[in-house]
Symmetry: D2
Subunit: 148 residues, 4 copies
């Protein structure tokens, strides 16, 4: 699978295969490390007056980023021949635990989460994630432990 | 404020004041310790075939339960005379960190999160949360640290 | 291996095989769920005036309890024929992540940590731990994720 | 207080005031961000054959680094006139929760933990910590939430 095909596959997984990602409007942003983004809109806020993104949206975005970084790494290091290979891998990746540190109120127009693998493993992989707004202010940090 | 008024207030906060709670369909369940629930539906799943609740929905429900347990405790231990008092308190409660342990796949029709305060404090309160499905299977555990 | 042999093995592992456990004076307490204990003494405190157990001692005790609960479970569910079998298992158990919630100051004469497995798994096991003092006051909670 | 006095004070707090730090041999390393270090020795290991630092020693070192980064920040941003001011501050800093991610086995001769404040606050401060060995291999990450 070449780079273009890999990116198309990751985009499809993130934007079309996962219903809750679609409901929230989570988008894949091509790049390295893996990036996913979301536009702020009235339904996603936790506090109407201050238009702050709900903590659950932040947790979701960080978890999605972590899980997708693992799939991206899988694509980058394995011979994936088909979507079926990828689908099989996907169902095996499961979040074991997630920690979110909320550093600043979730204020902004567009939020981007990035993820990197900090402990690769055959059984367990650990990732760290960061959430920034469109002005590149760091809003939250995450750590995820995944069975792979 | 009597018990009925308190319950009406908590219900309003959980179901009407917080837009993202409304989008997800999070409901208040009167009781002690604090309970919130959600019905499974196609948009909330992370895996279409197995209809598993998305990890982000689980994190959201646990975070909401933790934060609302703090508000409930505030109602139970203070002389809240008005919705304005409550609103003022609400905006001061902020999640500092959240840990979610995903124990089993989020399979079920209806999910209920309960929360209890394990470290009450003037500056910081820590809560533990549990998520069960309608068959009372424990699916996830949470720990939340909140500025109050 | 019968119950007496299992208990002798766990005691040996906890009290003699692990140098840092010895330095701290961590003891095995026969029972179910798994229990380990420690006596307070001047070198273990973090605050001399208040004689509070250092947070690092608490983290250590909770981590030891979690890891040993996994070994105990292994003994209870497998045909362990020899110390060599056990030793082989031991070296494969590794803490991936640990969360400690410090609820109250670590004041007391004797501290006991108990652990239970909340997510058994072939690749990863999650445990929850509690620390009480001799008056049964709950001082800290832990959650550990272990590769097994 | 000038820089030399501040460093002398931090060194005294880390190396002499906290009995458990002394037992382990934790040392202050002047610098910015805050650094603390420990030499490996037989009593500190969790696995005798591989001479791996016990997970509890790692948790301790990361917790000490986080707490001391808060004291250092206090010294840097306040007019501390005396050791009594500092002592008063010290007793108010309490770890609320700590997460440790163990990335690689704790192998090495000398380990250094560094800490930075990622969420400063009047009630709660969050720090992130890293542990490296003498070859600068990253062995563990920590996140600490402290009441201040």
């Amino acid at each position: 699978m070449n780079e273009t095909e890999k990116e198309a596959l990751l985009q499809m997984v993130i934007e079309q295969f996962i219903p809750f990602n679609q409901m929230l409007g989570i988008r894949y942003v091509p790049g390295n490390p893996l990036l996913v983004s979301i536009e702020n809109r009235p339904e996603l806020v936790g506090n109407e007056r201050r238009k702050m993104l709900h903590g659950g949206v932040i947790a979701t975005l960080l978890d999605v980023a972590g899980g997708m970084a693992i799939l991206k790494n899988f694509l980058d290091t394995n011979d994936v021949h088909s979507r079926a290979d990828m689908a099989e891998k996907m169902v095996r990746v499961a979040t074991i635990d997630l920690r979110v540190d909320y550093l600043r109120p979730g204020i902004g127009e567009r939020f981007t989460a990035k993820a990197e693998i900090i402990r690769p493993g055959k059984r367990v992989t650990v990732t760290r994630m960061e959430l920034h707004n469109e002005e590149d202010v760091l809003l939250a940090l995450g750590t995820g432990t995944y069975a792979v």
